[in-house]
Point group: C2
Chain length 397, copies 2
């Protein structure tokens, strides 16, 4: 049982290989990014619920009786396997004073909270009066799964608070994770939260946030990879805005225009994902440095393929050129057309080279994080396991 | 019948699509380049044969009796379908004072001349005493078919001089070409000359030099394209030296290492060649401007594929980047790893943009020609059809 307070975290995600190709039935590999969202849930004295996401400007609170009244007003019962209905969402919008077509992160984050709070307490029992504070290392809207990291944290914390899952953290241990069954429940609820935010998400982001590591996605089927190494990377946001929808449509158009030219490119990307999966699964048992040049070569090839598909952008060419000048290999990650790039770092890459690359990337106006992929999924934290930065961020109340 | 003098020319060649892939059984498209080699053959009074190629530093002359003695000394008879034997080449080297392993252009050009002179006169009848001067717009050793342009010119001039083919130039006409049968004979002899120079050439270069236009090559089969437009291009020599052999071996190694990733790339290149062939064959009948963006897109895609295969080079990236900054599309042509790049110009590309691109390419240390592809094959010239530059070059005697 949890006492007065829990702190949970969930990782962001990056697509390692298979972006765009996945839309056409090919394999994609998604990896957990060691840039995490942290959520502190604290029991509070008043009969109220307070949610704060200072990163996206949400500070909302409601009293418990009005939330209970709202819950009773819903016709359909709640279930972790049911999609939120349009009627439910309309009622929540009205309750929270959110305009019908609102798509700003603060509106969607508020709606997702309300839906998950009401649905989880309806299904699993009352969530007590709580105060929730969320802080994230992830930028929002950059294709790094920040919304899923949030809904995974919310699901884990709310399910813990209402007693639907255990509180596995033992005295003196820095962190703990839940059982496979509990994780599956967290994932299902997080997926409903993602649905509130994105309409019809693939489920990849919440699965990565829940299980961490790396997973394979193909035609709706999500399979976590068995063993995955933690690999150091640079993650760079070009800050060039793009529309995933427009990019996906452009790729589709190109495939229709030149099927005999483009379909083999999709096949090649599929093979890259599979080759990368084999390498990642072989690395933990046999951590030979020989794997790194292969991973680098796969990055280079796929970056060319993504350019062929029309997902490139001059800012991404620049990102790749700058890192190449420091001997590092990069590819875009996600939709492309701007957005983020990922750069592999070897264990023996000199810190000076990394610093120089980061400096040059920042000089291009990009934002750059030195982090890892293959990070742990949703985790329960003792205070001792949190960095001073996180402690400081979660101390604001 | 020819009178005292003939001037013939033959075009160089560039690979438009399919370099490297052709080694693995895929289609390649080769095009005639409007950078030509000119050869003037003049009957001379003395009983001698004189050959000058000032571009590669060849100035050689022999008296006719010693050439006739050399011809009698050959055991095997000559035929345009027979490969030059090692013994024949050794005898020629000894006669011309060329060291056994000599591979300099001047040695190979001299050997090819001697072989073709002896073989053609043995098969078709004595070539009279002549003086031959060769001048070329093509750089040697840049993969632009300069040796084939030379052997095609030699075959055409020597066959004309000994009466094996006609001299089709009519009074008052600027240029003339031979019949299909005569061209086939020129091509077969030019191929033997190429064998002297290259050992086991594909035959593509001499076929392009003979027929001009564009041709398709696959698994040893050469098929000229029916109608081909003349397209304006920039041809740029990065002057970065490279070894075709090493590059071809590198591509093969990559295919063996990642067959599932690389074989689809070969398939995609094959489809690019076929798509390009369709476009080229459709253009003369329907010269719509809509074809140019397609040709540009095929250039861009193939350039990425060639990078994937390991045929790229920073100098070629620079070439593509510089031309892209002027709105132009480029790809490497030939073996890659340096060497030449080809840039498509639209009919409506502004001359200012072309000049600016040329200036920037030259500033990189590259050499740049504004020329065309789809040029005529081997041609017989009246003096009036020659530019003052060519007239001047061929007047040096």
């Amino acid at each position: 049982m949890w006492e007065r307070s829990v702190v949970v975290s969930a990782p962001g995600k990056a697509i390692l290989h298979g972006e765009h190709a996945v839309v056409h039935g090919k394999v994609a590999l998604a990896v957990a990014l060691d840039l995490r969202t942290f959520l502190r849930l604290r029991r509070c004295g008043e009969r109220g619920v307070c949610v704060r996401l200072p990163g996206v400007g949400v500070v909302r609170s409601w009293d418990v009786p009005s939330l209970q009244a709202l819950r009773r007003g819903f016709a359909a019962d709640f279930d972790e396997s049911k999609s939120p209905s349009a009627e439910q969402l309309d009622m929540l919008k009205e309750f929270a004073g959110i305009a019908a077509g609102a798509s700003a992160p603060e509106s969607l984050a508020t709606l997702a909270f309300l839906y998950m709070y009401l649905a989880i307490s309806a299904k699993h029992g009352d969530v007590p009066s709580v105060d929730i504070l969320v802080w994230s290392e992830l930028p929002t809207g950059a294709g790094l799964g920040s919304s899923a990291a949030y809904t995974v944290c919310l699901a884990a914390a709310l399910l813990t608070a209402c007693g639907a899952i255990s509180c596995p953290l033992k005295e003196g241990e820095p962190t703990a994770r839940w059982t496979e069954e509990e994780l599956a429940l967290i994932n299902r609820w997080a997926f409903q939260g993602e649905r509130v935010i994105h309409g019809s998400p693939s489920g990849v982001d919440n699965a990565v946030g829940t299980w961490g590591g790396a997973l394979r996605y193909q035609s709706g089927k999500i399979t976590p990879l068995k063993r995955v190494p933690m690999l150091k990377i640079l993650l760079t946001n070009t800050k060039v805005p793009r529309s995933t929808k427009v990019l996906v449509a452009g790729v589709k158009e190109k495939i229709l225009k030149f099927p005999a030219i483009m379909n083999p490119v999709l096949d090649s990307i599929d093979a890259i994902s599979q080759e990368c999966q084999s390498v990642l699964e072989a690395m933990p048992a046999n951590p030979s440095p020989e794997y790194y040049p292969v991973l680098e070569e796969l990055f280079d090839i796929n970056q060319h393929h993504l350019n062929v598909m029309g997902a490139g952008h001059p800012s991404l060419d620049r990102l790749c050129g700058v890192t190449a000048s420091h001997g590092l290999h990069s590819k875009l990650t996600g939709a492309g057309g701007g957005g983020c790039g990922i750069t592999l770092l070897r264990p023996d890459t000199s810190p000076l080279a990394v610093e120089a690359a980061k400096r040059d990337l920042c000089a291009c106006g990009f934002e750059c994080w030195e982090t890892s992929i293959g990070a742990s999924g949703v985790t329960l934290h003792s205070s001792s396991s949190l960095s001073t930065q996180v402690l400081h961020a979660l101390a604001e109340s």
